[in-house]
Symmetry: C2
């Protein structure tokens, strides 16, 4: 197995995590957590979502959150953007990147956006030039690309066609494949990533993994061996999916960063600082799904002699 | 990444799991659970441990457990054997295989057996001919081979020397590398397994993984890609380690079997039957550490078209 020398971890807890919380998290608390995250070495933070406030009340303070942040040099602040109105708001609020999503299946697309995938993709086609005109990046996520609670694993040809449209029609170069409800397995991740990378060598592929069945780190590993360059994760393992009973949250950022650090794959994230934020987040929301929060980091020992170099930094 | 077509899962819950339980599990309950496990398609069960009853009171009924089992055709029943007295007892009790353990570090060996590794290995050297004379198999586990709570990751040369002694001096052909307290990472597993397989191509290597930091399935994956042929696991994720505060149990058998099934790697285990046993075990001991017990198995869908075959059965 071969691994990359480094990988970008994108923190999505302030969006994908917080939006699942039933009690409103006060805006200053959100800002404080994002500011702490931005000082851990993370390079990308999805800070909020510009959905209609009536649809997701937890995200009703998107503008205030963006305005209140203390921007850290070298950190990209992204906002999730479901439609043109959201794009206008995200641009006005100063998001560095607009994150758009289309579902790989019509069932999920209809459930999530009340329109089939084709129309959702057309909407993305109207958002991209808005972002470009304002000088902002765009990243696209393919929801349920690795498993849909209504339809199962979507046919590969459908995922490839979606990515093809995003890349060839819209000119996007950053694509995340989402295991939205935690159904994917490592072989599937491996074959899907390999096929997409062969077809679209110019694209930076990422994974958005939920840990519903405990496989998120194994799936991340399969993706890394296949050449993905970025991984979403959520501090304290927050998140979930309203359509998956028993679904766990995103892979916990601290668990992912710990594995990568132990493997010697650079993320630039300081694990001790990240764990402090995770503990704070757990205290704020009252729960967590994180192996490291439960078990702690093992004591450091002098490096042993491994057959192929050190086991990590 | 390449995966094997099949793998042997060895259920260690009745030993490694139960022995961590503070309340005595009645012998008929133990027997009932082992009998249920033996009807799930599992081919190997470590049923008990022939330690001194005063050392591990939970295992004081080892003979009764073995005598009470309803042996299933095609299932191997192993017993953990710490010393010659244990070997005599295991042979008399009808164990198909005697499982012996030595620690890769002296610190752990002293803590576990009150003798350094060298002396523990000499003891194994006396047990092996006893087993052979009685027509029983022997498998050796190298405790803390992938991480020691006192010394960190042992030098590879030490692990290789231990395996070399077991293989070349004692003639053993089945060796498990234990991540006793859950410190290993996938790169380390990958490089260690690759080096050992290159050095000892005649040996069937296995992994014994704890899920303390959530990496057990990722480590299993790295091991499978490196050619391990058997994996220990514990129903409901039972187990732990008295020397690792916050340590989780073994990888849950149902989580492992689920991942393998989704990947199309044959284990012959029926997941639905295994989940029933896991629920029963959870009810008996009052806890579990199992993603599948929490989330359930996703609904089955017709197979999608993957770029390289189906995602699994």
């Amino acid at each position: 197995m071969r691994w990359p020398a480094s990988v970008t971890v994108c923190e999505v807890g302030p969006r994908d995590g917080f939006q699942m919380e039933p009690s409103f998290i006060p805006t200053p608390t959100k800002i404080a957590i994002i500011d702490l995250l931005s000082r851990t070495g993370l390079r990308e933070i999805q800070a909020t979502s510009f959905v209609r406030p009536t649809a997701v009340p937890q995200m009703r303070d998107a503008e205030e959150v963006m305005a209140g942040l203390r921007r850290e040099h070298g950190v990209l602040y992204a906002g999730l953007v479901p439609n043109e109105r959201g794009a206008e708001r995200a641009i006005a609020a100063g998001c560095d990147r607009l994150d758009v999503v289309v579902s790989a299946t019509d069932s999920h697309s209809l459930s999530n956006t009340r329109m089939p995938t084709r129309r959702a993709l057309e909407r993305v086609g109207r958002i991209v030039p808005m972002a470009r005109a304002a000088g902002r990046d765009v990243a696209i996520g393919i929801a349920v690309a690795l498993g849909c609670p209504f339809e199962g694993v979507p046919p590969y040809a459908r995922v490839e066609a979606l990515v093809g449209h995003a890349v060839e029609e819209l000119g996007l170069t950053r694509v995340s494949l989402a295991d939205t409800v935690g159904m994917a397995n490592p072989r599937q991740v491996s074959t899907t990533v390999a096929a997409l990378r062969a077809r679209f060598p110019q694209v930076a592929f990422g994974l958005h993994l939920h840990n519903t069945r405990g496989m998120a780190l194994a799936n991340a590993l399969a993706g890394l061996a296949g050449g993905v360059t970025h991984l979403d994760a959520s501090v304290a393992g927050l998140g979930g999916c309203p359509f998956a009973p028993g679904a766990a949250g995103n892979v916990a950022t601290e668990d992912l960063v710990h594995m990568l650090a132990e493997m010697g794959i650079a993320t630039h994230v300081r694990l001790d600082a990240l764990l402090e934020v995770a503990r704070r987040v757990e205290a704020v929301v009252g729960h967590a799904a994180s192996a490291l929060l439960r078990a702690g980091v093992p004591r450091r020992f002098p490096l042993a002699q491994h057959p192929a170099g050190s086991p990590g930094p």
